[in-house]
């Protein structure tokens, strides 16, 4: 396959960027999208040009590093991470636009790499539990009802990639924040901070400059881990409950 890539190039956080066109030849349909970018970068290095900077780590769809907007869709045309997107999803001669996540809370560091530490600060605000130190407790010391365990697991699959923010027309981080809140709020271990967690994490989310939710559902449609849109409703319910219970 031969492809035309139009990639956002930006040399630093304070520089202005632009879309630059590149040609890549002899792309195998079995390559992952990141391998295709590796081929391009090898070629750029041999020509003495700056390679395209992009985040990547595990390359098996579980770390959440590799975020980029491909042809207007977060992580590209398939609902998975960019590393798990394969070139068989494209056709010979395609023109592919590649851009970084766009959000005020995710400033571009270089090319396709954005600073997602706003997510870390949301987690720091309440994405933890208070556990007594000591040896590991018995596995069944605290019983968890099966439906609660399932709901917690479903939300815990969030890898914090930021596709929800990138796909949201409002740049909202509600799906990410709701997944992190629901994961802990539904479990017995998460109960001591149940109210402060939702209040503090939502406050931090707002302070980071993310947009508000208008229930478009773009986040859930882009989420590589399939976090359901209902998670946002659950977070809203938790927020209203906490706001009633814990006056500040």
């Amino acid at each position: 396959m031969n492809l035309t890539l139009r990639i956002w190039r930006q040399s630093g956080p304070d520089e202005s960027g632009e879309m630059v066109t590149y040609q890549v030849t002899d792309v195998s349909p079995d390559m992952s999208f990141l391998e295709m970018l590796d081929i391009l970068n090898e070629d750029l290095i041999l020509r003495g040009e700056q390679p395209v900077a992009f985040d990547h780590d595990c390359r098996e769809g579980i770390c959440g590093s590799c975020g980029m907007v491909i042809n207007g869709s977060a992580h590209g045309p398939v609902q998975t991470t960019t590393c798990q997107l394969h070139m068989r999803s494209f056709n010979d001669g395609d023109v592919i636009d590649i851009e970084p996540w766009r959000a005020a809370a995710f400033p571009v560091i270089k090319d396709l790499v954005v600073d997602r530490s706003a997510f870390d600060r949301i987690i720091q605000a309440g994405g933890y539990i208070s556990a007594p130190t000591g040896t590991a407790p018995d596995a069944h010391a605290v019983p968890v009802p099966k439906p609660d365990a399932d709901l917690a697991f479903e939300n815990a699959t969030c890898i914090g990639c930021g596709a929800c923010v990138a796909a949201c027309p409002n740049g909202s981080a509600m799906l990410f924040t709701s997944a992190k809140i629901n994961h802990l709020n539904v479990l017995p271990q998460g109960q001591p901070e149940r109210e402060s967690r939702v209040l503090d994490m939502v406050t931090t989310m707002d302070a980071e400059g993310f947009g508000g939710c208008t229930n478009t559902g773009e986040c859930a449609a882009a989420c590589p881990k399939g976090i359901p849109l209902a998670s946002i409703a659950t977070m809203n319910r938790e927020f209203l409950r906490a706001a009633r219970k814990a006056p500040r």
Partner: protein, 208 residues
């Protein structure tokens, strides 16, 4: 936005049902309209209840529009640099046109009050004769067109708005999602069909 939207939606259901009285003829419709002014008597004076309702609805409308503007403002600032490539169209038409539909409805509310409450822009505009005013209204094609366009915008607004309110107020969950979507569809269609039946009846000569 969710709570004020729900209050205005409740009013619309009653308003639509009241409008259907027009099919019982001028005497029924006009006496129904006159009765609206007497609600609450003898505890309340004439039109007191009506004014309480107007103030509540106006407060809801102002709060609804204010939060819509605040939300839009915040959302624009959350993405200062836009994407170069076009976003694929995944959400429904209703979802993507909420802001435009809302603006159409805000303009329509002003028009509608000037038309059928105050009577200033009504072709007949005679106080105490709502039946005749309505018939005079929809005899003019462009007034009927304004009404039909606004009601279609209302349909889309309720379809996304009702379900969205269920999300925002935390009433929705995975199991109830289909229930709220169904109620939203039924409400949107029932209210729109109910409201549209009046201009259609006038234009087809069923009500004259």
């Amino acid at each position: 936005m969710a709570s004020t939207g729900v209050i205005m939606l409740l009013f619309l259901i009653v308003h639509m049902a009241g409008n259907l009285k027009i099919f019982f003829g001028p005497t029924d419709f006009n006496s129904y309209a006159a009765w609206l002014r007497t609600i609450g008597e003898p505890v309340l004076h004439e039109t007191w209840y009506l004014w309480v309702q107007r103030v509540v609805l106006l407060a809801c409308l102002v709060a609804h529009v204010t939060s819509a503007i605040q939300l839009t403002h915040r959302d624009i600032h959350a993405r200062p640099q836009r994407y170069r490539s076009k976003r694929p169209w995944r959400a429904t038409f209703a979802t993507n046109t909420m802001r435009y539909g809302g603006a159409i409805l805000a303009l329509f509310v002003i028009w509608h009050i000037l038309d059928l409450t105050v009577g200033a822009v009504n072709p007949r505009g005679e106080a105490g004769h709502p039946y005749e005013n309505v018939v005079a209204d929809f005899g003019v094609w462009w007034i009927a067109l304004i009404y039909v366009v606004a009601m279609l915008a209302l349909c889309l607004h309720i379809y996304h708005g009702f379900w969205s309110a269920a999300q925002t107020l935390g009433a929705n969950n995975a199991a109830r999602n289909v229930v709220f979507k169904t109620i939203a569809t039924v409400l949107a269609l029932a209210i729109t069909v109910g409201f549209l039946s009046v201009p259609i009846a006038v234009m087809t000569g069923l009500v004259r």
